[in-house]
Structures are given as C-alpha cells and as structure tokens.
C-alpha cells in the first residue's frame, strides 16, 4: 500500500525532531514505540512535535487527546493525525 501524505509528513517531522538520517524513519512501523521507548523524546520534545504536527498538518491537538496511548506507538500517532485531518 502507498503511504498516505499524512504518513510521509509525520515521518518527516519525526526525522527532524529525533535528528534521524534521511530514510531512517521509513523503518518505523505501526508497532514502533515512541514515548517511553526513545529516551530523547521527553515531554518538551513531544510538545514540540505536536506543535509542528499542528502547523504542518493543519490540525488542532486537544489536551484531552494527550494520553499515553496517543504517543505509545507510531501507528497510534498516525491514526490520530489522519483522523484529525479528516475531522
């Protein structure tokens, strides 16, 4: 299946936040752990990530949505971003 536009942009944002080499984020799959699995992804970095998602994907992230589930895996974050974009 072709990756969606949201998928590509989200991988790009994670590449920037985590300082990954180009292409490295292509290896992320739905089960790749994020918050709690990547030591550099602390609360400040996650907050920056979410602001960047808002700006680039043109979505609004509500406080209520910020639970452990949202950031647990790449798949969860992508599903959330896609749902917000079509909302």
């Amino acid at each position: 299946m072709m990756p969606s536009d949201t998928d590509r942009q989200l991988r790009q944002i994670l590449t920037e936040v985590l300082g990954l080499k180009p292409g490295q984020a292509d290896a992320f799959d739905a089960d790749t752990g994020l918050f709690g699995h990547l030591p550099e992804l602390d609360s400040m970095a996650v907050a920056g990530l979410l602001t960047e998602m808002e700006d680039r994907l043109d979505i609004v992230v509500e406080d209520e949505d910020l639970d452990g589930e949202l950031l647990a895996t790449y798949g969860n974050l992508l599903a959330y971003a896609e749902a917000r974009r079509t909302a």
Partner: protein, 227 residues
C-alpha cells in the same frame, strides 16, 4: 576574536543594569545585532547561533549577541521581567553596539528594533512558543500522575505567573507573549528553514549542531549585505 562585552539596560525608574553580550567587534562597517531564540529554544540554538556569528566574523561582519534580562548571566530575576523589558534591552544593545542590521532567530523576531533592517530566521509566534511549553508541562504532569490543562494553566499564569519549561514567567510575560507576533516588514527578510536545508535545530529533542546550516545562514547574510 570573540569578546565578552556589556551594555547598559534600562530599568524601571530610570536606573540601568549592565547585561552581558558576546561580540565579534573589529569596528567593521556591517554590525549585526543577533536577537536570540527564546526559552528552551535558546539552549538548543545557542551553539548554532555562535557558529553563525563565527562565520560572519570570517566574512568581515561584526556581530553582537546580547543576554536578555533574566537569562544567562543576567542578575535580574526572570520572574520580574516582561517581554517589553526584553524589547527595551534589545533596543539598548542596538544603540550601545551601533548595530546596522538585525538577525533574529525564532522567537527573537518578537523583539526586533522597529527600524533596523535585516533578517528573521524561522520566526515564531509568541502564542506558538507558549502553547508548546504549556503542552510540555501538561505531558510532564500526566507522566507524574497529575492532571493539568493548558487552559487552566494559562488562566493561572495570566494572573499569578507560571513555571514553564524551567522558566518562571511573570503574568505580564505570559500576556505579552500571547499577543506578540513576528512583524511583516519590507526591511526584514524572512529566512525559512527550506533555504537553509536540513531540519531546524530548535526542533531537535537534544541540542545538536550542523555546520552546513550555519554556513548557509551566514552566507545568506554575507551575500545580501554585499549587494
């Protein structure tokens, strides 16, 4: 060579405090006032900022990086400082160093002197910076098992001040940040990240550096002052 300089920064009531600044000063005709990024972004961009200044020095351009009152080596308490004080401090530094141009980084764009031409690198709205820091606090609280909300924190902050990202912001600082946006000005060229290449270092989870980005930003400035 890099030098530690100081500039007289006005205080309420007419007195002045001395704040420090880093400078490359060889009395050359082009003198760039560098307005730093704000709060945690200042830390993540500090190295990059100095790398750009070193390159400007190599290209025959003087530059000056003032401390903002309440940050770095300043003796002022950040909790008593407003964004308006920062704007006055930047204006004072501009006069002291005889700046001919300004280069702001990220939130520094909110503090630029009104009539100094120059560049804004990846300017950020005060509201976005605030929102990111509020969210970081909500996330950290949640991890610790406490429930906070951005909205309630903001309401509290506007009345009593607020600790965000390790900085104690005064109520005035919170209010002014919310309202400040980078100005759209003909004499300020916006330098977007696309032009610099790579990804913005302020986004990185950990401080980093990138020589090619520093080369690119310094080159944009050096080219434009010479034409």
């Amino acid at each position: 060579m890099i030098e530690i300089l100081s500039y007289p920064c006005p205080l309420a009531g007419g007195a002045a405090a001395h704040e420090l600044a880093l400078g490359f000063d060889r009395e050359r005709p082009v003198r760039v006032l560098v307005v730093p990024a704000l709060f945690d972004e200042a830390n993540r961009l500090r190295r990059f900022t100095l790398e750009v200044m070193r390159r400007l020095d190599g290209a025959g351009i003087d530059s000056f990086l003032p401390d903002l009152p309440g940050t770095n080596e300043s003796e002022r308490e950040l909790a008593e400082v407003e964004a308006e004080d920062w704007i006055m401090a930047i204006e004072a530094a501009r006069r002291e160093f005889g700046a001919t141009h300004v280069l702001s980084l990220r939130g520094g764009a909110l503090l630029m002197p009104r009539d100094l031409p120059g560049w804004s690198y990846a300017p950020a709205k005060g509201g976005s910076l605030l929102r990111t820091m509020l969210r970081a606090r909500v996330l950290a609280a949640r991890e610790a098992g406490r429930e906070e909300s951005s909205e309630a924190l903001l309401t509290h902050g506007l009345e009593h001040g607020l600790d965000l990202a390790g900085y104690h912001l005064s109520p005035e600082m919170v209010r002014q940040l919310q309202e400040l946006s980078p100005p759209a000005r003909d004499d300020i060229a916006v330098i977007a990240q696309d032009l610099i290449g790579g990804s913005g270092l302020w986004l990185r989870a950990e401080p980093d550096e990138d020589a090619s980005q520093a080369d690119a930003l310094a080159a944009v400035i050096a080219m434009r002052v010479q034409t």
